[in-house]
């Protein structure tokens, strides 16, 4: 098994927010190799100035997402053999976010929108109150649970054409978070959530194209969560006029 491995042609985006182009590298193919392995190999063996971001390498931290052959993916858990086309790979920075350098994007707009979507807990009790039991089978809890495995990787955000066309749009992950908070029976300010998601950049911008749901590496369904927000905001509008 000591044969010289075959070489793959890998194009990697180099540049900053204002200018850049793809640069070609030859990378040895290996068994069970991930896209992150490829990027790391280039950085360690060909060009130490290549910039990229990762932390956990096991699909938990959400920091390694990049565009791979035009599709947003978590690179630490994407196997090369699954995405290699004609021995070619193209790796670029996530779409819809400003590029800092090479493969590292500035994720601030993504996280700022989590806050703007009111994806924060509004407590009903003080820390001294006894813990209130919640049935896992309770309908609201089931809805809330469906979105909690989000790792903030921004893959859905990069996949969304509405984000691309409207910089104010809160995007799939933030809205899904708002839906989780809305369905949490321990949350005290549902109206704040409804107000936050029904504004200019809110849930009604979504065209239900479903790219978020198709590409979410954790198999979550932000499109479904956004449809939920569309229902409750419309209902609230007809009932209370807001």
């Amino acid at each position: 098994m000591s044969s010289i491995p075959d070489m793959m042609d890998v194009s990697i985006w180099r540049g900053d927010g204002t200018f850049g182009q793809f640069e070609s590298f030859k990378v040895p193919a290996q068994e069970s190799q991930t896209i992150l392995d490829v990027v790391a190999w280039v950085q360690q063996n060909q060009d130490p100035t290549l910039t990229y971001r990762y932390a956990c390498r096991v699909g938990m931290c959400g920091s390694c997402a990049m565009m791979v052959n035009g599709v947003p993916r978590w690179t630490c858990r994407t196997h090369v053999k699954k995405v290699l086309v004609n021995n070619n790979l193209e790796v670029g920075p996530l779409r819809n976010l400003p590029v800092i350098k090479d493969l590292a994007t500035d994720m601030d707009p993504f996280f700022d929108k989590w806050v703007a979507a009111e994806g924060v807990h509004h407590p009903t009790k003080t820390r001294d109150a006894p813990i209130e039991p919640i049935l896992p089978t309770n309908a609201g809890r089931v809805e809330a649970s469906s979105g909690i495995e989000c790792i903030n990787c921004s893959v859905c955000y990069a996949a969304c054409d509405t984000v691309a066309n409207n910089p104010d749009y809160l995007g799939p992950a933030a809205l899904q978070r708002a839906w989780t908070v809305y369905n949490d029976s321990k949350d005290a300010n549902k109206q704040a959530v409804l107000d936050a998601v029904s504004g200019v950049g809110g849930c009604h911008n979504c065209h239900s194209q479903g790219s978020c749901t198709v590409h979410c590496p954790n198999g979550l369904n932000p499109m479904n969560a956004i449809a939920g927000l569309k229902r409750v905001t419309a209902m609230s509008f007809f009932k209370n006029g807001k």
Binding site: N69, G70, V71, P72, R95, A158, A159, D161, H207, S208, Q209, G210, S211, T213, V214, H215, N221, M223, N224, A227, G228, K230, R231
Partner: protein, 113 residues
Amino acid sequence: MIRSHRTHTLWLAYILHRVSGLGLALFLPTHFYVLSLALTQPERLDGFLHFVEIPIVKVAEFGLVFLLAVHFFGGLRLMALEWLPWSANQKTLAAGAVAGAFLISTTFFLRAI
């Protein structure tokens, strides 16, 4: 070329719905104009109705019916998708049932006429 992040059924359904809507929007003014001829210039309407007998125009009519059907079901699909808090499986089953019923009923309808 459709960019890779868009190559999935939901996006195709979305673009079909949009394009058929645009097609219908372009067709409607012509449609109203021709209808108005019945009131304003009946002779020209007759001339136009002869033109409609040409086979290629007949084929184009099928295109129109297709646009209408696609747009109609696209709308129903979207309303079901966004307004019914069903699970994905329930929606697939319901869509299958509607499509099946549509297929069977049109077959009978076409036989009847």
